[in-house]
Symmetry: C3
């Protein structure tokens, strides 16, 4: 039976190689979490090699967190090549809405490349859909938060957008939503302390790309599995914190928890419903 857990097991079984063009803030954690889930990362952003690098990989993760004029060209070239090869491609539009350059870069990339999934917080995703997210830097604005009260309308909004955009939208926050326009996974794993760590979103994007590569025939479920795995790892990591351990140790313990998780544990711990 196809479960979230079997999506993780498929990553461990296939050990896909994931090409990341990602920001220098969280790149080390992205690499370690990709290794933790059973895949292998390669970071490469020079336009002279990104097409060749992405060709030997199974998928591509583009994260615009510290993009610059040079690396944006590499993102485009890699994206076009990966698409031509049928590789799963993910966009993490970090800070879309925080500057015109970020918003426009994300929209340009979406014009030129067909993304299998776009993962961000609600402010970033709203910016891409309707141009009106009120991003607070790289964090979601409180006004955009998905709560139990706004859940129905948020699901409706994202389903419609995902359908029009022909992509999976994965919006993470206190409640995570993952939809392909038809079904929407509603995931309630995770803990508030994850908001005090840089890079859990970037890590999830890297890991989700690995999940997509290893589960091409069930991409929506794979994306949801990655979201649930990250949230569950946050819960597990927090459970083992000593009184004197805070956000930096939690950062490590989350990656640790991913490295120790198997499909059964993910299925047992995932708090998920489909709307």
């Amino acid at each position: 039976m196809s479960t979230l857990g079997t999506c993780l097991d498929a990553v461990r079984a296939q050990a896909p190689l994931v090409h990341c063009i990602t920001n220098y803030v969280t790149v080390n954690d992205v690499a370690n979490v990709i290794l933790a889930c059973g895949a292998s990362p390669i970071m490469s952003d020079d336009v002279g090699e990104v097409e060749e690098i992405t060709s030997i990989c199974g998928g591509l993760c583009i994260n615009i967190g510290t993009m610059n004029a040079r690396t944006v060209e590499s993102m485009k070239a890699a994206g076009v090549k990966a698409e031509s090869l049928g590789h799963p491609i993910l966009l993490d539009p970090v800070g879309a809405g925080a500057s015109s350059l970020r918003t426009n870069t994300a929209l340009d990339l979406m014009d030129g490349v067909r993304f299998d999934a776009i993962r961000g917080n609600m402010s970033e995703i709203k910016t891409l859909i309707v141009g009106s997210g009120t991003t607070k830097g790289v964090d979601a604005d409180a006004a955009d938060a998905v709560t139990e009260e706004t859940l129905d309308s948020a699901v409706h909004f994202l389903k419609e957008a995902a359908g029009k955009m022909h992509t999976i939208l994965a919006v993470t926050g206190a409640i995570d939503l993952v939809t392909d326009g038809t079904d929407c996974y509603v995931i309630r794993n995770g803990c508030p302390e994850m908001g005090r760590i840089t890079g859990t979103g970037c890590q999830l994007s890297g890991m989700m790309t690995a999940f997509l590569v290893a589960n091409k025939e069930r991409k929506l479920q794979a994306a949801a599995a990655a979201v649930a795995a990250m949230g569950l790892a946050g819960e597990t990591g927090r459970a083992h914190l000593a009184s004197y351990e805070g956000n930096a140790t939690l950062r490590n313990r989350i990656i640790d928890a991913v490295s120790l998780m198997d499909g059964n544990a993910l299925d047992a711990g995932a708090k998920m419903e489909i709307m």
Copy 2:
């Protein structure tokens, strides 16, 4: 009553957004310590967006640790914009004295931007003041160390320089000195093991910027509070090390300690006098 601790509480209450143009060596730790103290970081260094990014933030931290020709232009543009908006701006002249390019870049930035604070080790700061620091790479030269014997003359020297430069100078080492030209905080927190970790200085610069933003009416005290908080976190972090834990774990525990610190703890732990 205004204490160092109330400066920390103000950061947690206001959660300012801090724009960092910083080096790629320690950037993840800088982001995590800014989150740990209650603020939010955004790293951005492309000249096409830095003015817009800094405009949505409360303050700017410029760190030249791995600067290059491209990012120096971004530092200048962001600095000019942030100054025009009245945002607190901090310079961390990493490695000034280690190369002409670093020294000249720091001096150029100081010519074009009014910094509220400059934080470095004594060799870096001496280089900026008198052109004669004997930097050993990115570490202070032993000959420049502030000791109990050289304390009086170091305080005098820094007060005079800070007065002329119209900035706060924060010099960290075994004894930390923070002065605006009139008063000088002498802080004796910290532990020698912090010298075996990369990035405690960079982290302090990021955190200090957050403190300045949240305490604009008392910037000297805010800068001193950040210094004491970092030193106290070093002491707390070291106290919990197991026998098999060394510099990498201490690195994490320092950020952990910041994330768990409140104003009362800072006031109780700060070892500070004013000269």
Copy 3:
């Protein structure tokens, strides 16, 4: 008596400054492990300063993990300068074989600079020697693994290549080989879990450069000592993992173990023979 341990003690006694032009994925860990072994790192990659920076250092570590057109020029300039000063220079050809650009960059660097040591996995090193390594991204291909069965032929192959190339070749994997063409150290420290952490190879390259600088009169032994120290640190780090700790914590504990290791411990723990 000259032992591997005395090579580590020499690093702690001399505290050499090491110039690193290295990738942004693992740079923080490289800096912390260089500090852990008793040396000091400085990362600098702008062509306007690399010659001056490398001049104040004792050695140079070039790692092409996230090289780009700009930094490759800096690598060449720094390499030529460091060679002219007689500084030990190390090349880590990360991902050679994964793209033509990486392979050609590594070969170009080897044409222009005399490296004292080249450290990589077997796929990378084979690519440089015979152009036929089957690199899997930045990891070695299983077909290239050195095993007890292939040990004799691998030693023979590397000895011949090192002799022709007039350099030390350090090939790391389940069994590590370090040869200057005459002798070959065969080192069996380490643990499989190290393969699930990004950057242990990059860290070793940084640390090995420090060992070469502090032991110029016995470079082969110094390179072997660094390899054994990294492997032993992996064993020590794994021994202290709690049941809920995985690859991210192991990453930290390895650096911790280096920071706590002295020459006696290295001699006691090294599993080494010379072929």
